[in-house]
Symmetry: C2
Subunit: 312 residues, 2 copies
């Protein structure tokens, strides 16, 4: 069976896998990114990691997921704020070391491809992955293939305006989807609600410490019957659903896969979203309902998706 | 030179052209739609129109633009509120009459393809057409090809939320792009502003009659120095730009082509949009600037784009 290497570059660690074409992970490794080093040094370390992962076995290719704006056609990292790379020829650098075809993609996009090929999206040709973390990452698969936008300049779902002139975003604009639907946003909304209701059970849950509020606080307290917590979740789900509907109306995705820490809430998250999205998407109940599911692959999605970039 | 027929189905008229592969229109015709007739009768009339357009000349194929949700892969009009069609096998019906390949697409999508192939988008592989009319229509071309979403369920740019919980839309939701950026929206915003400022020059321009307000009222009075009119335009362009930026961030479009009556304003419309979009798109000034231009083909875009559907 054919084998591939998938690499997922993060700000602190570079994770890698050796994987067979059916998605079975045969080897795993992780090396520190040491992101302050020059690009050439980081690339050389990743090259060694690839050689070490293969253990001399023949591989068909290497796929790499990397944060930032990626020009997949030319294998170049256009820019990356965390790694300080600019027009970095990553595919070329790794191809010289590995001696096999190398493809690169944005890491969120790669994770989407991984979930679609080997995880929660296996049943669909057209799906979107929306990752609810510090920000909102997104990936789009159309007809089984990753959609990256012209010159990799697309699929920036997190920075889609859903409330013009709304909450300020780190990108400099206002009202981006991620300022309402990220885990960070949920924490902010939770803290805000707690400050309006000193009697909410969320105060006990957080041991009276606003610094201890996280993405679970409102969900757990709502389950226990706290009305303020429930209102936090209702509002959060409302904005999240509005963004999901935009994605569905624009791409016609058959399924929306939610990733990131918040998706640990499972049905408490996906059931109300499924109902709202299908009732409010354009065209309503005509055609197949849109599935809303949680990601399955966890931290392996990035590496598996990266490897998928070079699978036939 | 190869010849094609392009058909643009409207609520009142069905327009058709015979066109050569370089986009030269050789024949034109228009027949009444008589939309209350059963689908079979309308299709039979269009079949006769096609035969009449060709005048016995050999054609390579027929492309058809039709309002509503269209399943291009199966040549079926899934539904259409104005023609009362549901799962109508339009391509099959016309193929039987014309004896050549027939493809169908949503009319706004077809117009986009027309502008990209023969009009304002000729220089670009990736462009979006945004038509500012009664509503906001949209079409997306990716890599020279029409993007219609999975099962034709996509590219519904007009019903992308840009102000969650905002102005009610005819689709039943709130805050859709078209409730802020359509010509209808501009008229509503103009009337609203006039009712807050009885001294605005717009009252004279409209001869004191709110019923005479149209998409030109605010633009013309702003040019003449009316501050209230200028504020209407500033706000209108702000929302229009927010929607355009969403499209650019999602598709990475190299160019956004504006169609519909409002685009008669030319540079007064496109210059401020170009500036705002390029300053505020994700990734800012990295890479080529996004072009914002007005459509060139006018009423022929639909037929030319329809014909393009069957061009190699």
């Amino acid at each position: 069976m054919k084998k591939y290497v998938g690499i997922d570059i993060g700000g602190t660690a570079v994770k890698g896998i050796l994987v067979s074409e059916d998605g079975t992970i045969l080897q795993k490794s992780s090396i520190p990114t040491l992101a302050t080093r020059p690009f050439e040094e980081v690339a050389a370390s990743i090259g060694e990691q690839i050689v070490s992962l293969t253990g001399g076995e023949r591989i068909e290719g290497v796929g790499v997921g990397c944060p930032g704006m990626v020009d997949g056609a030319h294998g170049v990292i256009v820019y990356n704020n965390n790694l300080y790379w600019k027009d970095a020829p990553l595919a070329d650098a790794l191809r010289q070391k590995a001696g096999v075809p190398v493809k690169v993609a944005n890491d969120a996009n790669a994770a989407c491809l991984g979930e679609c090929r080997f995880g929660a999206g296996q049943a669909y040709s057209d799906a979107a992955l929306i990752t609810l973390g510090t920000g909102v990452g997104g990936g789009i698969v159309i007809g089984g293939k990753l959609f990256e936008g012209c010159n990799g300049r697309g699929a920036e779902i997190g920075h889609m305006t859903i409330v013009a002139d709304g909450v300020p975003c780190t990108c400099g604009r206002k009202g981006c989807f991620e300022t309402y639907a990220s885990a960070t946003a949920l924490v902010r909304q939770t803290v805000f609600a707690m400050l309006t209701d000193r009697k909410s059970a969320m105060w006990d849950y957080a041991q009276g410490d606003l610094n201890k509020v996280d993405g679970k606080t409102s969900f757990e307290c709502a389950k226990a019957g706290d009305g303020t917590a429930q209102r936090v979740i209702d509002a959060y789900l409302h904005y999240l659903a509005e963004g999901i509907i935009n994605v569905v109306n624009i791409f016609g995705s058959q399924a929306v896969i939610l990733g990131g820490g918040v998706c640990a809430q499972g049905a408490a998250l996906t059931d109300p979203l499924k109902k709202y999205v299908n009732a409010n998407r354009y065209g309503g109940d005509r055609g197949e309902p849109t599935a809303v599911v949680t990601a399955k692959l966890g931290n392996d999605a990035g590496c598996l998706g990266a490897a998928s970039l070079v699978m036939a």
